[in-house]
């Protein structure tokens, strides 16, 4: 059978947040590039998604459960001055971790978090409201994930 395995589009060197799902596990991250550049590491590096999964659930890391990636372009982070873009992404990533912890049911059954929240950049203000952006990112991730689950 031939089926679509997913699509990705976007400009190189732009700000993204993303989530990785496998079974009951979830991982959030950020990148300053189009997400597949970063995602490769999550399938190979011991410090990233698959490596962390091996540590907590070795069987799940190698079983046949499909893996699901979703990336969200964060235009407001790109609108920040270049030196501030990474910090802006980190701020949203930290907020995204908090959104998940406040209510993981949006992405159930993936309620086991593998990623670690970055330290919150409390000294910086941005042109955008990080809580609103993280809320939107979380609901977009949840919607894509649920719609993939339903397929």
């Amino acid at each position: 059978m031939t089926t679509l395995a997913g699509t990705i589009w976007g400009r190189l060197r732009t700000s993204h947040l993303y989530a990785v799902f496998k079974g009951p596990y979830i991982y959030f991250g950020e990148t300053g590039n189009v997400p597949p550049v970063r995602w490769k590491g999550h399938l190979t590096s011991e410090a990233d998604f698959i490596g962390k999964l091996k540590k907590v659930d070795p069987a799940a890391a190698v079983d046949g459960t499909p893996i699901f990636f979703v990336g969200i372009h964060i235009g407001v982070a790109d609108d920040e001055p270049e030196p501030m873009q990474k910090i802006a992404r980190r701020a949203i990533e930290a907020e995204l971790h908090q959104r998940f912890s406040l209510d993981p049911t949006l992405v159930s059954p993936a309620i086991n978090l593998l990623s670690t929240s970055p330290s919150v950049p409390v000294r910086h203000l941005f042109k955008f409201d990080k809580v609103n952006v993280a809320d939107k990112v979380y609901s977009m991730i949840a919607k894509e994930y649920k719609s993939w689950l339903a397929r």
């Binding site: 030196p83 159930s108 970055p118 000294r123 203000l125």
Partner: protein, 571 residues
């Protein structure tokens, strides 16, 4: 098939021993009294009066000095049957929604932790009850759970009628206190006064209920009234803004609903979570840079380790004061106050115990709570650090200390020191540098003693400002050097660059760390100015191109380093 024989048999209950056990559940006197006050609140009282009667010859400072405790309310009151039901163990579990009661043990366990006899006289619909007494000695004598019912004497009818002057209300009295080891009554009263305003804040405000306390030593002084207090000072809290932090206001760091769903299919309402960071208490001292009015405000927060942590409310009533949430909060975060609002619907998931003073959060929920509170903890630490730096910041002018210390340091190019008069090309370059400096000098050189202005360097006084903090720097660069025709090199440091906002801005303006960073940046500036001015063998445009790339790289690296090391100074 074999039949298994079964029988149901009674077991012995040692009534007096059971009374001793429930009296030892672990109450301090003020906690026990508040548990009794809870019943009055549940009975919709609008007035509650707590009296401690000292034993003859005892003072406030003596331990075990109370002869009798008395709690009087004007709630709905009880009939004789209802008083008897209230004395039963595990009394009447039919509580309305959001009741403060839970297991029907509070009156007995709290009362018996204060004394050996609990007396109740109540009035309902204008009808005064008899006096019913739960007496441990009588129970021991009978080896059975019994109460003593006494008809009121005419004097007692007058006495209790005066105490309950309305159509309904209840008087609870506890005596037989002399055999129970208690803290001094002054400690009990102090803790009641300190805590009750926080514990019952929402009831005092909304029900409304007035609560008064007094200690009687053969007299009948006025009651001291309890004022409601939101220990998070949320009505005064500002939204978090690191750039305009004012060292006085509480700052609201979190105000969210937490869904404690464990994925087990049970539907539980969300828990409201709030967090506030307060300024350091030291800023309330007379030596602080704040005005006397501001100092008074800061002192009013009573920021200390005892008043830090999570304040857990159940149905609007505080049940945990300053909980450290299994180590999520540490003793160092004493300017952080968190409020968690539970209802009885969370009792099972959070394992609220019989005294409603303790709860146990399982590991999964604790891990989530830790992540939720992480940003508040970080912001609170940042506030603490800002306050510390503010306390020791003597100049208020960034760059002033370096300018002073470097005033006599030569800025010569060692390559040029042995040569004679500079060639024309060098003189032209120096002239061009001076003209370029003029364009920025006025916007950044100094702004007088009155304060700072946007886009201007923050350095007062007549000293030539060698290091200037300004936004007048290319946005990617951390600094740009210039040479003033008369005074020599000065460096503009970019206050929009994340390396500045994350790290440098946190260092006191005259701290050794700040001075050393300024010295490194200034040295790089001297190197650039001298190279561009003196290295006439290389085309100026080429030199400028090299330094532009150099600054792009430095600025970019430092921005990335900053992004990877957020809050480094807090660790």
């Amino acid at each position: 098939m074999n039949t298994i024989m079964q029988s149901i048999e009674g077991i012995e209950v040692h009534a007096a021993r059971l009374c001793q056990a429930i009296a030892r559940i672990g109450y301090e006197p003020q906690i026990a009294l508040m548990d009794i006050v809870d019943n009055a609140v549940t009975a919709q009282a609008s007035t509650i009066r707590v009296s401690l009667f000292l034993a003859p010859g005892k003072t406030l400072k003596n331990r075990n000095s109370v002869q009798r405790y008395q709690v009087v309310d004007d709630g709905v009151g009880m009939t004789n049957d209802e008083i008897r039901a209230a004395f039963s163990l595990g009394a009447n579990g039919k509580y309305g929604p959001h009741s403060l009661s839970k297991y029907g043990m509070g009156l007995k366990s709290a009362g018996l932790s204060l004394g050996n006899r609990i007396h109740i006289v109540s009035k309902k619909d204008g009808l005064l009850s008899s006096r019913q007494t739960f007496d441990v000695a009588l129970i021991a004598q009978q080896n059975n759970f019994v109460i003593r019912v006494s008809t009121l004497t005419p004097e007692e009818v007058t006495q209790y009628g005066n105490l309950i002057s309305g159509v309904s209300g209840t008087v609870i009295e506890i005596d037989g206190c002399e055999t129970i080891n208690h803290q001094s009554s002054s400690t009990t009263v102090r803790k009641l006064e300190e805590h009750m305003g926080v514990v019952y804040a929402s009831f005092i405000t909304k029900q409304p209920v007035s609560i008064g306390i007094r200690v009687c030593a053969g007299d009948a002084p006025d009651f001291k009234m309890i004022a409601p207090l939101d220990i998070l000072f949320r009505d005064k809290a500002k939204a978090w803004d690191p750039e305009t932090y004012d060292y006085v206001s509480p700052y609201l760091l979190l105000d969210e609903e937490w869904n404690p769903d464990l994925g087990d299919g049970k539907i539980i309402p969300p828990i409201r979570l709030s967090a506030v960071a307060l300024p350091q208490d030291k800023l309330g001292n007379s030596g602080s840079p704040l005005s006397p009015e501001q100092q008074k405000i800061v002192k009013g927060y009573q920021v200390n380790r005892d008043n830090a942590g999570c304040f857990i409310y159940r149905n609007g009533r505080l049940i945990r004061w300053g909980d450290k949430l299994e180590g999520i909060l540490t003793k160092d975060e004493y300017n952080l106050r968190i409020r968690m609002d539970l209802t009885e619907e969370h009792d099972d998931v959070l394992h609220v115990d019989v005294t409603k003073q303790r709860l146990e959060i399982d590991d999964e929920l604790l891990a989530r709570l830790r992540r939720i509170l992480d940003s508040s903890k970080t912001a609170a630490k940042f506030v603490m650090k800002k306050c510390t730096e503010y306390m020791k910041r003597p100049t208020g002018s960034e760059g002033a200390a370096f300018s002073e210390r470097s005033a006599n340091v030569p800025e010569d190019d060692p390559e040029e020191m042995a040569s004679g008069s500079p060639p024309d090309e060098v003189l032209q370059r120096l002239q061009a540098q001076a003209e370029e400096a003029e364009t920025i000098n006025d916007a950044t050189k100094q702004i007088g003693e009155a304060g700072t202005a946007a886009g201007l360097a923050k350095l007062g006084g007549s000293l030539f400002a060698k290091v200037r903090y300004t936004t007048e720097v290319e946005y990617k660069h951390l600094w740009t050097p210039y040479r003033d025709a008369k005074e020599g090199v000065f460096v503009c440091i970019n206050t929009h660059h994340p390396f500045y906002t994350e790290f440098m801005a946190d260092l006191a303006d005259n701290s050794p760390e700040r001075l050393l960073l300024e010295a490194l940046i200034f040295a790089a500036g001297v190197g650039q100015i001298n190279t561009a001015g003196n290295l006439h063998e290389v085309e100026l445009d080429d030199i400028k191109m090299v330094f532009s790339r150099f600054h792009n790289n430095c600025g970019s690296y430092l921005a990335e380093f900053t992004g990877e090391n957020i809050n480094l100074l807090d660790t």
